[in-house]
C-alpha cells in the first residue's frame, strides 16, 4: 500500500489490516491519521438550538402543503357551490382574455415568457419550480373548463325541467 491509497482510506474513515500495517511503518500517514482524529473530535461541537419561530413556520408550511396535496381538483368537483364559483371564475377569465386579445390586436400579454425570463436571473431550480407550477395550473384550468361544460349542461337540464315551456334554453340561447 502506498501513501496515497492509505490517505484515501484514512479520509474515508475506512480500516483494514493492510492500512494498519502501513500506519505502523509510515510516520507521515500515522500523523495524518492522528491529526484527523483530533481535529474531527475538536470540531465536533454541540449542535445549536433552532429558534422556535423557525420551527413553527416550517411545521406550518408542512401542514399547509399536506392539506394542498390532499385537496387537489377532486374536492372541487364534489362541491356544487365551488363548481359554480369556479365556472364563473373561468368565464370571467375567458372574457378578460378575449377582451385583451381584441384590444391588443392579438398580442395579449402572456406573462409566462416574461416571467420565465425574469426568473432566469434566479436559480435553475426556481425556473423549474415556476414551469412545474404553470403546468399544474394549466391542468387545473383544463379540468375546470371540462367541469364548466358539465355545469352548463346541468343548468340547461334544470331549466327545461323546472320552467314553463316557453322559458327554454333555446329561447335564451347559450350562456
Amino acid at each position: 500500500m502506498n501513501c496515497k491509497e492509505a490517505s484515501d482510506m484514512i479520509l474515508k474513515g475506512e480500516r483494514s489490516d493492510i492500512l494498519e500495517q502501513h500506519l505502523g511503518q509510515c510516520p507521515e500517514c500515522r500523523s495524518l491519521n492522528e491529526d484527523l482524529r483530533r481535529i474531527s473530535a475538536a470540531a465536533d461541537t454541540p449542535l445549536p438550538e433552532v429558534p422556535e419561530k423557525l420551527d413553527r413556520a416550517i411545521l406550518a408550511c408542512a401542514a399547509e402543503q399536506s392539506a394542498r396535496r390532499s385537496m387537489g381538483p377532486t374536492l372541487l368537483f364534489r362541491m356544487p357551490v365551488l363548481r359554480a364559483v369556479a365556472a364563473v371564475a373561468v368565464l370571467a377569465a375567458c372574457a378578460v382574455l378575449t377582451f385583451s386579445v381584441m384590444t391588443n390586436g392579438g398580442s395579449a400579454a402572456v406573462p409566462r415568457p416574461l416571467a420565465v425570463a425574469e426568473m432566469a436571473h434566479g436559480s435553475e431550480e426556481d425556473v423549474l419550480d415556476f414551469l412545474t407550477n404553470s403546468a399544474e395550473l394549466d391542468a387545473d384550468l383544463l379540468a375546470l373548463s371540462v367541469e364548466l361544460d358539465q355545469t352548463e349542461s346541468d343548468l340547461q337540464l334544470m331549466a327545461s325541467v323546472s320552467a314553463p315551456s316557453w322559458y327554454s334554453a333555446a329561447a335564451y340561447g347559450d350562456f
Binding site: 490517505s7 484515501d8 479520509l11 474515508k12 495524518l32 491529526d35 484527523l36 483530533r38 481535529i39 474531527s40 473530535a41 475538536a42 470540531a43 465536533d44 461541537t45 449542535l47 445549536p48 438550538e49 433552532v50 429558534p51 423557525l54 420551527d55 413556520a57 416550517i58 411545521l59 408550511c61 408542512a62 401542514a63 402543503q65 399536506s66 396535496r69 390532499s70 434566479g122 436559480s123 431550480e125 419550480d129
Partner: protein
C-alpha cells in the same frame, strides 16, 4: 402510554417510512423527520454563512420549504441528509451570488467557479493551546477555509459520504477527496502550534 409508544416508533423509524407517512397525511411523521435533522442543518449553515444569523435563518427556512415541496420527488437512492444538504448548498450559492449582485461584496471576492465568497486568510492561531481553546481555534480555522473546502469538511463531520459530497458539489469523487485532503492540510497548518497538554486530547 400509547402516545409515548407512537412517539418512540416515530423517533426510530427510517427516513423513508416517515416521508411516506407524511405524504399520506401524517403531520407527526414530518415533525419527527424535521426534529431528526434540523440542528445538523442549522449548524452546517451557521458555519457556511458565519456571523450572519439572520441570513442563516432565511436560508434554513427556505431549505426546508423547498424540501417540503419536493418530498414527493425524493427517492431513497441517497441519504436524506445529503439530499437536504444539496438543497441547502444550492440556496447558499444563490445567497452568495445575490450578495455579490447587491454590492455587499465585490464580484472579485466571489470565486467564479463555485460562486461562493473567497475568504481572506486571517491571523492563524499559534502557540500552545489548551484544550479549552482548541475548539475555538478549530472553529476559527474552519471559517477561514475557502468555502468549497469548508463545505467538504463540514459535510464529512455530518457523516456524508464522499460520493454524496461529489454530487452536492457537482464534482468527481477524486475532487471531493482532494478538497478534504487540502482542507485537512490547511487546518493542520493553522493549528501547527498546538500540542497536547497533560490533560491531553486523548
Amino acid at each position: 402510554m400509547g402516545n409515548e409508544t407512537e412517539q418512540k416508533h416515530m423517533k426510530e423509524a427510517p427516513d423513508m417510512v416517515l416521508i411516506e407517512a407524511y405524504l399520506n397525511g401524517d403531520q407527526t411523521a414530518f415533525a419527527a423527520l424535521y426534529e431528526r435533522y434540523k440542528r445538523q442543518l442549522y449548524a452546517y449553515l451557521g458555519r457556511m454563512i458565519p456571523q450572519d444569523p439572520a441570513s442563516v435563518d432565511d436560508v434554513f427556512q427556505q431549505t426546508w420549504m423547498r424540501a417540503i415541496r419536493r418530498l414527493p420527488d425524493y427517492r431513497n437512492r441517497e441519504l436524506f441528509l445529503a439530499w437536504l444538504m444539496r438543497i441547502a448548498h444550492n440556496l447558499a450559492v444563490d445567497f452568495f451570488r445575490s450578495g455579490a449582485r447587491r454590492g455587499e461584496q465585490s464580484l472579485s471576492d466571489v470565486d467564479p467557479e463555485t460562486d461562493m465568497p473567497l475568504t481572506k486568510e486571517g491571523d492563524t492561531p499559534s502557540g500552545r493551546l489548551d484544550r479549552r481553546e482548541l475548539g475555538e481555534a478549530i472553529d476559527r480555522a474552519v471559517r477561514e477555509l475557502p468555502p468549497e473546502l469548508r463545505e467538504v469538511f463540514l459535510l464529512r463531520q455530518d457523516g456524508v459520504s464522499f460520493r454524496e459530497i461529489a454530487e452536492i458539489q457537482h464534482c468527481s469523487i477524486n475532487t471531493s477527496l482532494a478538497r478534504m485532503r487540502y482542507a485537512l492540510n490547511k487546518l493542520r497548518a493553522s493549528l501547527s502550534g498546538w500540542s497536547d497538554t497533560e490533560e491531553g486530547m486523548q
